[in-house]
Symmetry: C2
Subunit: 324 residues, 2 copies
């Protein structure tokens, strides 16, 4: 397939793996890139810039194709040496970076001077326009459906994508609610140049998370995600397990939820441990609404091939027949 | 264009006008039908079955093409003679009915024996499957984006439509978040056989509502709708005007909102008067998120022609180029 994004990134199919904490290791990113998509290492899953350099090297040993690194810039209690991570990415020779969270402007001069293409993840049109203005090469437009942080506006991709097509000049990826060929064809129809998938790639053979987590997501329906942390204006879409339900219960108490009410729960919620052990009630994990459309655990190659084949079939037969 | 729905309903384009209280008069429905879509009269906007018969006659005098009648079945304080409305529809010789609200099963024998095609509007897959099982001819699948009542599940059309395509045998319309050719092409890509538009048709020359309301909707962004009545488990998406804001304020008070808290406000909120006078703070009106993509007030003919032309262009050029 060919879109502005496959051309710009030098990939075969317009399918990008989303940056995912604890999941975006070399096994995941290289599998996606080897299958013709764009794999992404999650920068902050590595506990130091030096470890990130090692992980990039490890990924490079597993694929000869392009891959990217995600750098999510968030306010944290413990300060994170973002500038050092950014420098590590540049020094490692990676040529594509996905930024997310806060405004990536402070890091752009460094990335641009190294010839790095920057994809910024945005949950609103105003942020996408800002990203375009400050020089990002493309954006990933994240709808209400998405896993993780959809922002506080609750605008869905049926609205966000046509709006982005109308307002943006730079290419953009549709993110949130994507997992099959129908979604890919629809995203392209609404003006996107490709899709970004997180949740769907979690449920692949190569995703470095426990089989029990994948199986739980296969069994889930479209009703098994939930928004939490809205009372903190830091909304996140997560899998609705018992820990998420405890958060929901605290947040639905009368009166304003205090950060302290959630803190012990959040500190006790071990996402990484959950992914390692398959203990499904050990923590909280991000999951998008698309979990309701996930029915199997294919390899990344099988998944990407199937999505592309389905999208091509839809375009060449179903849609062409409707208009001829 | 040709889909299972254009074939089944005998219309030129797979574009159906949604049933809208106070808006679905003969002027609106006939304009949509004359433009090649399917117009819908709103049954309960007429205050008696006899008046509905008159309105159907009036619509028939304005178009020779097929049009439908909407029958929304809801619990009401004042009992409504639904069976008499249904009989009036049958006696008037209308051949397509859109049902919404509660389970339409009690009315199906009457409609089916008269050879009427029944489209049931559903906000979830389980309701769509139920509608298929009891014999509805098609369903309209209403996502979180939609105006009016999206249900309590908050599942968006990026998820609902592919799910419907996977699970349903009968044809279905995508409803919610639709208003342009991008949306039409995307809906068809995700498996829908056509689209249902309410909000977009409100902002046409023929819609029988005050110019000021239309202008306000042209000026609105994707952030100008809001969900209300969630505390009553009767969620509605409405235009965020001052009355909607008062409801939001009441519902965000600590503790459970009592129906009585909202009753005086709701009783004072005159939707019909607002549409007649253009007094924008006189009441509450339903508006979908697509309001953020509405920039003009075309005729129904201009609108439908433009949507179809855009969808055809997307399919024949943009999508075909991506896969060739």
């Amino acid at each position: 397939m060919r879109t502005r994004i496959t051309e710009s990134l030098g990939i075969e199919f317009p399918i990008v793996q989303g940056g995912m904490q604890w999941v975006g290791l070399a096994e995941m990113a290289s599998a996606v890139s080897n299958a013709g998509g764009l794999g992404i290492l999650t920068g902050l899953t590595q506990t130091s810039p030096a470890e990130l350099v090692n992980e990039i090297e490890r990924c490079r040993s597993m694929t000869a194709k392009p891959f990217a690194v995600n750098l999510t810039i968030l306010p944290t209690i413990k300060p994170i040496p973002y500038q050092d991570y950014a420098q590590a990415i540049v020094d490692s020779g990676v040529k594509i970076v996905e930024t997310a969270g806060r405004n990536p402007e402070p890091f752009l001069p460094l990335f641009k001077s190294a010839g790095i293409k920057v994809i910024h993840k945005c949950t609103s049109i105003r942020h996408a326009l800002k990203a375009e203005k400050i020089g990002c090469d493309m954006v990933s437009v994240d709808g209400f459906e998405c896993a993780g942080h959809p922002g506080e506006d609750d605008v869905t991709n049926m609205i966000l994508l046509p709006l982005a097509a109308k307002r943006l000049k730079i290419p953009f990826l549709a993110s949130g609610g994507l997992g099959d060929g129908k979604g890919l064809a629809a995203a392209l129809a609404m003006g996107a140049d490709g899709i970004n998938m997180g949740t769907r790639f979690m449920v692949t053979r190569e995703a470095p998370i426990h089989e029990k987590v994948k199986q739980k997501m296969v069994e889930a329906t479209e009703l098994d995600t939930s928004l939490i942390y809205r009372t903190l204006s830091n909304t996140a879409r997560v899998f609705k397990n018992s820990v998420a339900q405890q958060v929901i219960d605290i947040e639905s108490r009368p009166g304003k939820t205090q950060f302290e009410d959630l803190q012990s729960l959040v500190q006790g919620a071990k996402g990484r441990e959950l992914f390692d052990t398959g203990d499904l009630d050990k923590g909280i994990w991000s999951a998008g609404m698309i979990v309701g459309l996930i029915d199997d655990i294919p390899t990344c190659h099988e998944l990407i091939s199937r999505i592309v084949a389905e999208a091509e079939e839809i375009i060449k037969r179903r849609l062409i027949e409707a208009v001829s």
